[in-house]
């Protein structure tokens, strides 16, 4: 499954600084996003949202005629799409974390383009499923809907735990996920002592997706830290 379908999503971008808007638009365009709509004020954003029905909104916290949080509430009344906050204040992190306002993620300015793109694609991946169900790896492809792997034309079923494991790794494809996060997803809060079980699951997944499981190319171990999944899109 490529992430090409995500690049067709309509994105609403709201920031009061026109130069910053230009820059974010150029980053998004460079990374293949085609439908980007911008606004500089709350009222303008509401109008643009009503006209273009965005599938993702990126909002600045401080706007000249209001704040991003109240804008989020207004936007959410019309449609339940993911929202990412851009904030220039460190303390907003606490606000966004602590108040549980329902934002999907936030980025503190300044940020690197690749960080922004990663966050956007991660949110989009979480929120929108692909029509094309396959995730292409180097030696196999994963069909998450059917919970199976297709390797050399052969269909291999994934167990529930293997499915969870691959899903987390795929959502964060190309990034290391710590052993702790994986164990927690698989066994809940009291996951201590499951590290060996995790290794057993990883090795079974490798049997299914890798050509040579002892020399993995898709599911990589980062020693002492965690694992990462490399898809063909990476």
């Amino acid at each position: 499954m490529s992430i090409e379908y995500l690049k067709k999503k309509r994105i609403l971008l709201v920031d009061d600084e026109p130069k910053l808007l230009d820059m974010v638009v150029s980053i998004l365009k460079e990374n293949g996003f085609e439908y980007i709509y911008t606004a500089q004020k709350v009222e303008e954003a509401v109008v643009v949202a009503e006209e273009y029905l965005p599938e993702l909104a990126i909002l600045d916290v401080m706007l000249p005629d209001g704040d991003g949080f109240s804008l989020m509430k207004r936007l959410r009344k019309k449609g339940n799409y993911p929202i990412l906050f851009l904030t220039a204040r460190g303390e907003d992190e606490d606000k966004l974390d602590g108040l549980g306002l329902g934002a999907d993620d936030y980025i503190v300015k300044p940020f690197l383009p690749k960080e922004l793109i990663f966050r956007i694609t991660a949110i989009l991946k979480r929120s929108y499923k692909d029509d094309n169900p396959f995730v292409q790896l180097q030696n196999s492809k994963i069909d998450f809907e059917r919970a199976e792997v297709i390797k050399d034309g052969e269909q291999i079923l994934l167990t529930a735990k293997e499915h969870i494991l691959l899903s987390i790794l795929y959502r964060n494809a190309g990034r290391i996920i710590t052993i702790d996060v994986l164990c927690k997803e698989l066994w809940g809060d009291n996951y201590f002592g499951y590290e060996n079980s995790l290794m057993a699951h990883i090795s079974r997944v490798r049997q299914k997706i890798e050509k040579n499981p002892s020399q993995p190319v898709s599911l990589i171990t980062v020693k002492g830290l965690g694992y990462k999944l490399l898809t063909e899109a990476n």
Binding site: L20, T178, D180
Partner: protein, 465 residues
């Protein structure tokens, strides 16, 4: 307030001691005087002696010349009252005119115990009757009816004792009343002073004997309060100013980093241009970290940063920080090796997750910033006795012993009056120190066994639920 009863107790002690001393002194003086009075040979005795020395001669009664002289010099007159006739049969030459020459029995009884015409008289038995000595007027005071109830004399020791105790009690009561009144007026003053210590707003009623003191305390409290307000206002202003500046820098810096990031992945750039873009990126990254550190440091300094303590697994947290670094930075020049030892995975520390992440991030960032040519970074988390220890070290250029000494003993960066250059150099590290201290931890800077720089953070383990 504890000191006031202690003070009163001490005063009562001193009071008792003084009373005791006073009694002893009195007894001593009294006995001294009594002894002196006794040795002063009582007039009764003199009368007896004179009576004995009065000889009956053919020509009448005669006193020897010595006694006669003594009586004269002491201005004492003497008479002899005859046994049978009750008339004066002998007398000294200086007998006043007013002294009667004959006596009834009742008159003799009266003069024995008292006076004749104001002269204190004393009697002694002689051959022919009784000798009466008349001392000068007002030379003695006589106890005319010296008789007491027998029981009264028998009970005298107890009576004296009871009276003494009653007196003592009275004195103590009076003292207690006076001191308690004083204490009552001191108590609010003491409370006021204690309030001043805790910087509370203090008001003491300006009444009673210590009203002036109360007034002074009230004035001091007001001065302190207004100083506190001014100080707080200034601190808030400074922290807000730093927050404001860092906020305003973030948006322009976003654009620098954004466009530089885009350029970095532009394949049409020459190698030299790519290198320049890389420098822009790295330096903006440094600025970003500096803003973050400055803002947090000022907030920690002025207690404007909420610290949410919860049980944190430092091993898990450190591993996440390392992974976040690897995921975002992707710096090939700085490979990170992570290690956990000694069952650290099941040890918890009471900490603020955000601040803790920040501390470890800063240490890794520090290793990267100070080794332009790249280095290996080694991070280990382990337990040692009751502590959880995080060590971040590298095999980079390291620092000299002198610099280590300076960093370990560096004053707070906001207090330091050294040149600003040096302060800035260590802001990231000093922030780590500040965070560590706010978690009851310890930070040590030293040489790494890998050849570079090493920072050790030590936190007390808290495995209690």
């Amino acid at each position: 307030m504890k000191s006031v009863p202690k003070l009163i107790g001490r005063f009562i002690g001193i009071l008792f001691m003084s009373l005791l001393l006073l009694i002893i002194l009195n007894v001593l003086v009294l006995s001294f005087i009594s002894v002196k009075q006794l040795s002063n040979s009582s007039p009764y005795q003199t009368a007896e002696e004179i009576a004995v020395s009065l000889q009956k001669k053919d020509s009448g009664f005669k006193l020897d010349s010595n006694n006669q002289k003594w009586l004269q010099t002491n201005n004492i007159w003497a008479i002899l009252i005859d046994e049978d006739t009750k008339t004066v049969t002998w007398q000294t030459d200086d007998l006043p005119e007013t002294i009667p020459k004959s006596y009834s029995l009742s008159a003799i009884s009266s003069l024995t115990s008292g006076y004749i015409d104001g002269y204190p008289t004393y009697t002694g038995a002689s051959e022919g009757g009784i000798v009466v000595l008349g001392y000068p007027k007002k030379s003695y005071w006589k106890h005319i009816w010296p008789s007491w109830d027998y029981q009264f004399i028998a009970d005298l020791p107890q009576t004296v004792f009871i009276v003494l105790i009653a007196n003592l009690l009275l004195i103590v009561l009076i003292y207690y009343w006076v001191t308690s009144k004083l204490t009552k007026s001191i108590a609010p003053i003491v409370q006021g002073i204690q309030g001043l210590v805790t910087k509370n707003n203090v008001y003491v009623k300006e009444k009673g004997p210590l009203s002036e003191l109360a007034m002074n305390i009230n004035q001091t409290s007001q001065t302190l309060q207004s100083q506190e307000r001014v100080l707080k206002k200034r601190e808030t202003a400074r922290a807000n100013w730093i927050a404001g500046v860092s906020h305003d820098i973030r948006t322009p810096l976003s654009m620098v980093m954004g466009y530089a990031g885009q350029l970095e992945s532009n394949p049409s750039l020459s190698l030299d241009e790519q290198h320049k873009v890389n420098i822009i990126l790295r330096q903006s990254e440094k600025m970003k970290n500096l803003i973050k550190d400055l803002n947090l440091a000022s907030k920690l300094e002025y207690n404007m940063q909420p610290i949410n303590m919860e049980k944190i697994n430092v091993a898990v947290l450190t591993r996440q920080v390392v992974v976040d670094f690897l995921n975002i930075k992707l710096d090939k020049d700085f490979p990170i090796k992570f290690e956990m030892r000694n069952n650290v995975h099941s040890s918890f520390v009471l900490a603020d997750e955000g601040l803790m992440k920040r501390a470890i991030t800063n240490l890794i960032q520090n290793a990267i910033s100070h080794n332009e040519k790249g280095c290996h970074i080694f991070i280990s988390v382990f337990t040692k006795q009751e502590s959880c220890i995080v060590v971040v070290e590298d095999d980079g250029i390291g620092i000299s012993d002198k610099q280590i000494e300076e960093l370990n003993n560096a004053p707070h960066y906001m207090i330091s009056d050294q040149s600003t250059m040096e302060q800035r150099h260590g802001l990231g590290l000093l922030l780590v120190k500040q965070i560590t201290l706010s978690h009851n931890g310890e930070m040590k800077i030293g040489h790494s066994c890998y050849g570079g720089f090493s920072v050790t953070l030590e936190f007390p383990i808290n495995n209690v639920n």
